[in-house]
Amino acid sequence: MSAGIVTHGLTKVFPPPSRLFRKRPPAPAPAVDGLSLAIPPGAVTGLLGLNGAGKTTTIKMLATLLRPTTGTATVDGLDVVRDAREVRRRINLIAGGERMVYARMTGRENLWYFGQLYDVPRAVLKRRIDELLDLVGLREAAGTLVERYSRGMRQRLSIARGLINAPAYLLLDEPTLGLDAPIARDLRGVVADLAESGVGVLLTSHYLAEVEQLCRHVHVIDRGSLVAAGSPAQLTAGTRLPYSVELTLTAPAPDATKAVEELAARAGAEVRHDTDPEGRPRVTLRHPDDLAGELTTTVVRAGGAIARVEVAPPTLEDAILAMAAR
Amino acid sequence: MPTALPTMRRNWLVTLRAYPWTYFIGTVATGVLTVGLAYLAFHAIGGGQVSAGFLADGGTGDYLGYVTVGAAALMFATRMVLWVAKAQITEQREGTLESQLLAPARRLPYLVGVGLQAFTTTVAEVAVMLAFAIAIGVRLPAPDPLALLCAIAAVGVAVFGLSVPLSAIMITVGEAHITQNTLFVGMALLCGFTFPPAMLPDPLRWLGEALPLTSGLRALRDAALHHAPVGAVLPDLLICAGLGAVYLAAGLRLLGPAERIAVQRGGAA
C-alpha cells in the first residue's frame, strides 16, 4: 500500500449539459488532462495554475465529490471511486469563503453536527471541538449563532469544520481567500504545524507568497495538464528569471557609470539609469544571476560612493507568470 | 401617468421574459380544485341539492355558480396581491429598492403601474380557470355587463388598496411569505369566497365586513348570477371602493416610514 495521495493520468471531462430535443454539442476540452501527482504525508504540497487551470476540479476529485473520467487517484492506496467511503474518513476539504456551515446553529453546534456525521468517537469529539475552537480563535463566540458571525468568523469556523475528523490529508482550496491578514498568517502557522505532525496537505492559493512559504513541493498546471514541478526555488531557478540589483550613488560619478556600462555589456545584463526621489543617480541591472557583488566592486574601484544597494531575487510569482506567458 | 406606464411596460417585459409559471400553476390549481371539490360534493353528497340555509344566506340555489364566482375572485385577489404587495419587497431583495427610492417618482404611480400590468395578466389567468369551470358543466347566467364591469373595477380598487399597507408591512418586517399567506387564508374564511359569510359566527362576520372584498363579492355575485343592474349593486360597490380607498390612503401613509426602516435594515432581508 502506497502512502500519500497518488494520481495517475487523472482526467475529467464534464459532459455538456443535456437538453431535451436538442443535439448534444461536441464534447468540451477536458478540465483536467492526464494529471499525475504525488502528495506525501507530512508535507505541504502546492498546486498552482491560472484561473480555470483545473485546480478545483482536481481537488474535488480527490475529495470524492467528483468522479474522474479516466485515470486513478488513491489515498493511502484506497481508490477515490471504489473506496469512497473509506477515503472520506481520511480526508477533508476546506474551501475559501464562508460557506459550508449552518447559520442557524452556533459554532460549537456546527462542529458537533459534522463530528457526528464523521462518527468521531464521543469522548474525542468533545475535546477536539474545544481544541479547534481555540485553534481558530472562536472559543468566546462558540455559543453564538453563526448568523451573527462576521465573514471572517464564518470562514474560521469553516476551517475548524475541515479539521473535525482529524484528516490524514487536508485539501485546501484557496483557504485564505478574503481572510484578514493576521488570521491568514495564523492559518499558515496552523497548516505548517499540521504538516509537521504528519498530515499531508494539498494547497492551492492565489497568494503565491503563501505557497512559497509553506510548500516543499509545487505542481504547476495549465489547462488541466502538469507544466512544471519542483521546489519553489527550483521552479524559480528553472525559469531563468532576472535578479534585479539597484544601486544608488551619493553623487554623480562619470567614471563609475562608465564602468557599470562595461560590466553590463560584458555580462549581457539589462541596464537602466535614473535618479532616486532625492535626486541621486541610480543604476539598475537585471540579469538571471545575482550581479550585486560585481556591481558594487566595479563602482567602488571606479571611485563611486555608494548610498545603498538593493537586490530583488525573482519570486515564485514571477516564475508562474513567466510560465503562463509561454 | 409618467411613472405608471413605464413601470407597467417594464413589468410586462420582465413577465414575458421569465413568466412565473410556478405561481401561475399554483393559483390556477387552487381555483380549479376549489371548483372541482364543490362539483364533486354537490353531486356525490348533495345529490344536486343544497341546504335551506344556503338558499336563505346565499340567496341562490346555484351552489356551483356561487363557488365558481368566488373561486375566480379569490384567484384574482391572490394574484393581484402577490404582484402589487410584493413589488417593493422584491425590489428590496434584488437591491433595486434604494434606486427606486432615489428616483423622484412618487409611490402611487409606481404601484398603479405594477397594478395595471398585474390586472391584465391576472384576467388572463382567471379566464383559464373559468374555462375549466365551464368545461365541467358550470353555467354562469348572462350577467348584467355594466354592473359586472363596475363590480370588477371596485374589486380591483379594493385589492389594490389592501396591497399597499401589506407592502408596507412586508418591507418593514422584511418578510413576505407569512404575511401574504396569512392574508390569503384569512380572506378565504372571512370574505365569503366559497360560502355565505352569514354562516359564520357574528364576530367573524363583522371582521369580514371590515375587508372590502366582502362587499365586493356581494356586488360581483349579484351582477354575475342575478342580472342585478348597477343601481341595485351600487351600495355594495360604494362600500367596496370606499373601504379600498381607506386601505390605500392608510397604506400610502405607512409606506414612507416603512421604506425608511427597510433602508436602515439594509438589504438584509
Binding site: R99, D119 | L40
Partner: protein, 273 residues
C-alpha cells in the same frame, strides 16, 4: 448502525435549531391549517346539510362528526405537507454549500434524508397534533375500538410520512425546479387524497392517482381507527397497502440517492432534473 444513529441524532438536532420557535412554524403548522379547516367546513356545509345528503353519507347527519372528519384530514395533510416544506428547505442546502459539506462526510445518505424528514416532522407537526388531540377530546368525537388502535393510528401516520419525507428529500436534493414540485404537492395533494371529501365522492381516476400517495391510505386508517371504531383486522387491507407503499418509497429513496450522487459526481452540478 451506531454511526447511522448518530447521523439521525445530529440531523434531528439541526432540524430543531432550524425550525423550533420560528414564526413560520406557528403560522404554517397551526394558524393556516385551522383557518383552512374552517373554510373547508363552511364550504362543504351547504351540500352536506342538503336534504337527503345523510342517506348518501351518514356521517354528515352530525355536523360535529363532519368537522372531526375534516379535522382528521387536516391533521394528516399537515403532517405530510410539513415534509414537503422541509424537503423544499433541504433543497436550499445545495445553494448554501452545506450539501457539499455533507457529501464530503462518510455519513450514510439514506440515514441522513430519513433523519431530516423525521426531525422536521417532529418539530413541525407536534403543534397541530396537540391541537387536534385537544379538540377531539373536548368535543368527544373519538370512537376507538380499543386503546391499541391509538398506536396503530399513530404508526399509520408517522411511518409513511417519514418514508414520504425521505423520498421527497432525495428528490428535491437534486431537483432544479424545487418550487414547482412544492406547488404540485400542495393543493393537488389534498384533492387526490380525500382530505376534504370522502373517497366515494371522488371519480375513479382521481382515486387511482390518490392511491399512489401514502397520505390517502394513511388518512383512511386514521379516520377508521379514531372516528369509526374500526380495529386492526377491519383495516388489514389498508395497513398492508400502507406498509408496501412505505417500503417502496424507501427503496425509491435509496435508488434516487445513488443515482443523484453519481450524477453529481459526473457532471459537477448537484442537479439531476
Amino acid at each position: 448502525m451506531s454511526a447511522a444513529w448518530r447521523v439521525v441524532v445530529a440531523e434531528a438536532f439541526k432540524q430543531h435549531r432550524r425550525i423550533f420557535g420560528t414564526k413560520l412554524v406557528v403560522f404554517s403548522m397551526l394558524v393556516w391549517p385551522v383557518l383552512t379547516l374552517a373554510t373547508a367546513y363552511y364550504t362543504i356545509l351547504p351540500v352536506t346539510a342538503a336534504p337527503g345528503a345523510a342517506a348518501r353519507w351518514p356521517l354528515v347527519a352530525d355536523p360535529q362528526r363532519l368537522a372531526a372528519f375534516l379535522a382528521a384530514g387536516a391533521l394528516a395533510y399537515t403532517f405530510f405537507f410539513s415534509l414537503v416544506q422541509s424537503a423544499w428547505h433541504f433543497s436550499f442546502e445545495r445553494v448554501s454549500g452545506t450539501l457539499e459539506a455533507i457529501f464530503l462526510t462518510p455519513a450514510s445518505r439514506l440515514a441522513l434524508v430519513i433523519a431530516n424528514g423525521s426531525g422536521a416532522l417532529v418539530q413541525n407537526a407536534w403543534l397541530f397534533g396537540a391541537f387536534a388531540v385537544a379538540a377531539a377530546t373536548a368535543t368527544g368525537t373519538l370512537h376507538v375500538a380499543h386503546p391499541g388502535m391509538y398506536l396503530v393510528a399513530l404508526a399509520a401516520l408517522l411511518v409513511p410520512a417519514i418514508a414520504w419525507g425521505a423520498f421527497l428529500n432525495s428528490l428535491l436534493m437534486f431537483s432544479r425546479d424545487s418550487a414547482f414540485l412544492y406547488t404540485l404537492l400542495d393543493d393537488p395533494l389534498w384533492f387526490v387524497a380525500g382530505v376534504r371529501l370522502p373517497l366515494f365522492a371522488l371519480p375513479l381516476w382521481v382515486k387511482a392517482i390518490g392511491l399512489a400517495f401514502p397520505l390517502t391510505t394513511s388518512l383512511a386508517i386514521l379516520r377508521g381507527a379514531l372516528l369509526d371504531a374500526r380495529d386492526a383486522s377491519d383495516l388489514g387491507g389498508e395497513l398492508a397497502l400502507l406498509a408496501a407503499l412505505s417500503v417502496v418509497l424507501l427503496a425509491l429513496t435509496a435508488v434516487t440517492l445513488r443515482i443523484g450522487e453519481r450524477h453529481a459526481q459526473k457532471t459537477g452540478s448537484l442537479q439531476l432534473f
